[in-house]
């Protein structure tokens, strides 16, 4: 957990006061909507179908139980009693009133939560791996560097009015749980041959209308040079990114149009011209940030505690344990993923009551810490294995123990047309129907790891391009239709999915997904050949045939 010091807290409070003044000037008419819009976006305030939507930052997906309780408070006091966790580790409230926003922000500021730059043409939440700091085999905790970047990018005077939004992600594990290859800047933390910490830097990843997988601009940037190198990239983008067409304004378009070599050369030229930079990250700087990260005082615990042996007789517990509990780097501990995808539920939502109760469980069993993953699930990162049975009972009561993590019913979906003014079609009811179709856990386990991603429009907030099965809502003659892709992946082998055929109507989507899954089960080489690997091996054709044979 990172502890904000007085300086961090002062900045957050100053931001709240600034926004309070801006809202006042908006409501008095002193600011027009045109002038105010960018200011409210810079504080995460969108206008949606029914209401304003408020996106609160959860830096690198880490929350304390105190902070989670405060989110519950905001949901209750200013909203309709629930929040939605997003594909960028943030949380969204859907019904908030503009007039009350400064107070909501003030309440959040008391526990070190803010909404700075969660929207707008600036640098957004620096996301990371929800297992950061506890994953076995991790090079180093990437959140230290995420926090370094968070501070560097917050209210940066040069880069607050970029051509378009800008997103960072960092991973420090061989298996990329942070989807760095679909970010504007993706950073892979690793050590060079001399054992020094540095980053493979990728640029130009991104989804939306023109999806691209990020390209490596430099295989190793020394940790010391991270900020100056990032500044060089941002400066080149700020000056040369297109501003005439919002669909061509992301850095991925600039990288594509220049080519990665030419782009890299521009960045290098700028970087060299920067010379000895005030941005050099020396050991003292890293130590300063690291000193404010606290880690649990882990006990020395056995690998297989008695409590776990006893509970193994309970098939329900065992099913959940096999599905939702992951290996921790410290013996005797575990990482527990909490599914926010109950059968029939809207994916990624949590009620205020659930948040409060979860905060209590986190205090008891996870050293007061909770994580948010980009798959729209939560995690408890420091659970002693002996506490798993009692924790499971508590989670089950709260509806947070659906044993479907990473399975077919663990669906990632954007809010879609039920909420979002950008959407062409609904996504949540599609997800809900799919969870009903695949509600049988034995079937889901038989199918194995399968990521379904649903986006209600081409902006791809559901990351459908990189879903094993991707579903994109479109509008045809006033009706909702859906394009289906297969074979996408978001990890270190990131790939864009391939369209299987013409768009299908709203009422047919669940049937189509069932057909695809049936085709996979019939065609897979072995039970443990994953869906996404079978697609790679077989190509799209056999699935296309199966789906469109009778349509």
């Amino acid at each position: 957990m990172y502890a904000y010091d007085e300086l961090d807290r002062t900045l957050i409070n100053e931001r709240v006061e600034e926004f309070r003044d801006q809202v006042k000037r908006r409501l008095s008419g002193e600011l027009t909507e045109d002038e105010f819009k960018m200011l409210r976006l810079q504080n995460g305030v969108y206008l949606q179908l029914h209401a304003y939507m408020f996106r609160v930052a959860i830096p690198y997906g880490t929350l304390s139980s105190q902070q989670l309780r405060r989110l519950a408070h905001v949901a209750r006091k200013y909203d309709r009693g629930y929040g939605h966790f997003t594909t960028r580790q943030n949380i969204q409230f859907n019904w908030i009133k503009l007039a009350e926003l400064p107070d909501a922000l003030g309440d959040l500021a008391e526990v070190g939560i803010h909404a700075m730059q969660t929207s707008g043409n600036n640098t957004r939440n620096v996301t990371s791996d929800q297992w950061a700091g506890v994953a076995p085999g991790e090079v180093e905790d990437p959140r230290i560097w995420s926090e370094l970047l968070r501070q560097y990018t917050t209210l940066h005077p040069e880069f607050s009015f970029l051509p378009r939004k800008f997103k960072f992600a960092i991973t420090a594990s061989a298996h990329d749980r942070a989807a760095i290859k679909i970010h504007d800047i993706g950073l892979r933390l690793h050590r060079n041959a001399q054992g020094e910490i540095g980053f493979e830097v990728l640029v130009g990843g991104g989804l939306g209308r023109t999806p691209f997988i990020g390209k490596t601009i430099k295989p190793f940037v020394h940790g010391r040079d991270l900020l100056s190198y990032v500044e060089a990239i941002l400066r080149v983008y700020n000056q040369y990114g297109r501003r005439d067409n919002i669909y061509k304004a992301r850095i991925k378009i600039l990288v594509h149009e220049l080519g990665i070599e030419k782009f890299a050369a521009e960045v290098d030229e700028e970087w060299r011209a920067m010379g000895d930079s005030a941005l050099a990250v020396d050991d003292a700087v890293i130590e300063d940030i690291r000193s404010r990260f606290t880690y649990p005082a882990y006990e020395k615990l056995p690998h297989m505690p008695e409590e776990l042996k006893k509970a193994a007789h309970d098939p329900m517990f065992e099913r959940w344990r096999r599905n939702s509990v992951f290996t921790h780097k410290v013996q005797g501990y575990a990482i527990v993923t909490l599914s926010l995808k109950p059968v029939g539920g809207p994916p990624g939502d949590a009620t205020a009551d659930q948040m409060d109760a979860l905060a209590d469980l986190a205090d008891k069993y996870s050293f007061g810490e909770i994580r948010v993953g980009h798959e729209q699930n939560l995690a408890l990162p420091h659970v002693a294995k002996r506490d798993l049975p009692v924790l499971w009972k508590g989670l089950d009561k709260l509806g947070l123990a659906t044993p479907n993590v990473n399975l077919v019913s663990d669906i990632i979906a954007c809010p879609g047309l039920d909420y979002c003014s950008l959407a062409n079609a609904r996504s949540i009811p599609i997800a809900q129907e799919l969870t009903h179709r695949f509600a049988n856990h034995d079937t889901a386990e038989l199918i194995g790891r399968l990521h379904i991603n649903i986006s209600g429009c081409i902006n791809a907030c559901g990351h459908h391009h990189v879903g094993h099965i991707g579903i994109l809502g479109v509008e045809k003659n006033g009706e909702e239709f859906y394009q289906i892709t297969i074979g996408g992946r978001a990890d270190e082998n990131a790939e864009l999915g391939v369209l299987i055929g013409p768009a299908v109507a709203y009422g047919e989507v669940a049937d189509v997904v069932e057909d695809i899954v049936e085709a996979y089960l019939a065609l897979r080489e072995r039970p443990d050949e994953l869906f996404v690997d079978a697609v790679k091996r077989l190509g799209v054709e056999p699935f296309r045939e199966r789906v469109y044979a009778t349509r």
Binding site: L49, I96, A99, P346, D349, P429, Q432
Partner: protein, 105 residues
Amino acid sequence: MTSPLEQKIRITGPSMVTANRTIDGVVVYRNGAHGWSTDLAEAAIVRNAEQARALLIEAVADDINAVGPYIAPVEISDDGKIAPGNLREHIRLNGLTIDLLPVSA
């Protein structure tokens, strides 16, 4: 960012102007009395691009009260009842089409 007035206005049937109330985001409809109403029945109906543009200009100028105005289709039944003209407006009027998690434990 193009304002709604810079875009070409196409009317394919009876339409209205809708927006969200500035202070709290609630869905509102431009009425015939130079104001906003939360009741669709009070929406001013326009039937051609000229009328639509005039109503939109008035709405855009009133951004102290409502934001993001745009022209949206309506359906008018034989007995004159106004209904939303597409799924999006249906959702804005009637709310979510989904079941949420029960809020109180």
